[in-house]
Amino acid sequence: MWRLKLVPANTKIPFVKYRHIAVGLSVIIIVAATALMFTRGFNFGIDFTGGTLMEVQTDGPADLANMRNRLNNLGIGEVQLQRFGDDTHVLIRVGVQADQSEERGGQYVVDAIKGELGAEVEYRRVETVGPQVSGELIGSAALAVIIAVGAMFVYIWFRFEWQFALGAVLSIIHDVMATILIFSLFQLEFNLATIAALLTIVSYSINDTVVVFDRMRENLRKYKKMELAALIDLSINETLARTIMTSVTTLLALVALFIFGGEALSVFTFAMIFGILVGTYSSIYVAAPVLMAIGIKRDTWGGAPVAKDKAEGKA
């Protein structure tokens, strides 16, 4: 009977052999991400900068130049306009007003724009975030990422050994940095949903990594004398079919969402698609080299069934 097999049975790809290339690539990614973060920065959404965002729909194709002209004469600072999806949808972004007095606070901007554009457009979405709230959101977003990474470290440490936890966390950091790199490079809007996407990536990357680790733990018990490099290769190859299958089903769902899910979700979904790809790579090529570098105390996974139970009893 015919079966779609993305990965043939019994692959013997020498992953560990090429780890130096991979480590080099990962180092480049992390360095580049850090550099871009400080030089180019991010295109932060109003969640983090404060300000006003409006999505309007025009009857025919929107005349951006005309709208830009009119809105920039309202005395509310620089007004940014951009098409959103098709050419009848326009995003209007205005920064936080320097004057936050009662008369000129966030509401003033919305009123001014509505006064100018009037009924010629449909107001699909209006968001105003005050400077106080945006400051708090930055803090809680950063905290959430740190807590998530920390929780993963503790969980893996608890289920495996600290070497595994370190490998897993480094691979998460790698994935987060790679995603950040893309956001900075293409100046994609970085908002609260991006943080949600980052956390989801963290979770999927860990998922992949854990499956490989789990198999390594099993093989460590099974083949007591095997070289660590050979053992890591064996484990990755044995789980490769699953790794690819799951990435594909997840990507199928995400690509459907990216294409059909509408403009509002597109950056969010794009971040996750990218993250799944990077996460699949990192669970093979970041977590494993870290384990190679620091080694594993093999006696932890002791021989006798009693000792095995003990090891699991830690979990």
Partner: protein
Amino acid sequence: MLYFERWKMVLIALVCAAGLAYSLPNFFPKSSLENVPDWLPNKQVNLGLDLRGGSYMLLALDTKGLEQSRLQDLVGEVRNALRDARVGYTGLGIQNGAVVVSISRPEEVAKAREAVEGLASMVSASQFSALPESDLTVNVSGQRIEVSVTEAAKLSQLQQAVDQSIEVVRRRIDELGTTEPVIQRQGADRILVQVPGLDDPQQLKELLGRTAKMTFRLVSNAMSGQQALATRTVPAGTEILYSADEPKVPYLVERRVMVGGDRLRSASPGFDQRTGEPVVNFRFDSIGGRQFGEVTRDNVGRPFAIVLDNEVISAPRINEPIMGGQGQISGNFTVQDANNLAILLNSGALPVDIAVLEERTVGPGLGADSIRAGSIAAIIGSIAVVIFMVASYGLFGIFANIALLINVFLIFGILSMLQATLTLPGIAGIVLTIGTAVDANVLIYERIREELRSGKSVVAALEAGYTRAMAPIVDANITHFITALVLFQLGAGPVRGFAVTLAIGVVTSVFSAVTVNRLIVAVWARYTRPKTIVL
């Protein structure tokens, strides 16, 4: 692993049936659900504001203003206390967040201190402690007395102000006639307002942003507003207030309040019988009516000002005593203005100014589009995954797909049952769950393949597949669940909706992809007794 006790099978079937039953209402129009009796599942998924359209607002109380007004009241109280005690003093005022006063004669300091300390009352320190604390601390150094408000008192005052504000906000929103608004306290000094399906959020904002402190006061007859401005003299007991409508006209208004807005019993929008212009009709309660009657009787011929949030709405002349406790406010209103003013007067004044910190409004058009796009994406994503699973695993792929279908019903069932909020990112969470739910099946099937390759019998391979795949399945799902928890803590609104569906998805996928799938395979294996399987 393949043997199921009868009661377990029944239990699993019951859970699936319940999931189906609770998700069913979502497939019928809402109106047809009204006839469904309460003992049957009749609740639909609660759509978030980004899907049904509506406004989300985060309001903050002006805590500084609250403290400042408390200090101003305190100045008055200290003045009265010292006067009653017949103690001479100078320099009574507010300095660095405390009321300070210098007692003229050193021998009277003790007496003054006693009088001021008499002003203190007890407040409960916090919600969690029953021990009452004094609301004032009095410090004496030399002839100087400093009275400050304790933290406990500030806290209890803030609590009260938030509670009152929530009440007022609720009354104002109810006047708009919207359904199911959510109004909750958030943090110490904030109020979260969510109003679904509102045609005009502008009106809501205008209503929430107003303090709506109304007073009826006499216009000073010492001089006109213009004169006071020109000569830069403001007689004692008066202040200059401007008219609400353009052009701004100055009025010299007495500080003393004839009747306060808290004496209003009701207000309603209407039209003036002679001019036909929109007005607001109001009625005082009995005390207010008497007060108003007395003042108008004694001041016939003088104008009085109707002041709302320090703006003069109108300043009519008192032509005759107004004894009935009823009146009419006219002030160049539009119909909408008159409507809003009536709502504000009926709902009462906020105890303190409120600012809108954050506002997110989604129009009904965008919400409907998002639902449509999300549903299409979910359906296409599911079909792609279903085809892929059958292509990869054949019959076992179909088993996995049955589990996936049950999974989707369970997610909607739980969402409906818990009345959790489904947002657009929440839909993304469901689509993502569809993609990853089959992960458990992939892990199991790949393991079975391996076991078959190593030469195990069909039954042994199936057993081993389910048993050995459990550890990575559990690990993978616990890490997902941890992420969902962190996300839930982080986000409000849409992002939280993502966390909710992700968390529910983890639970339902483990149940459907492991338990339900295993049951299907077990039943299949029992009836067909396969000698070999192609996987």
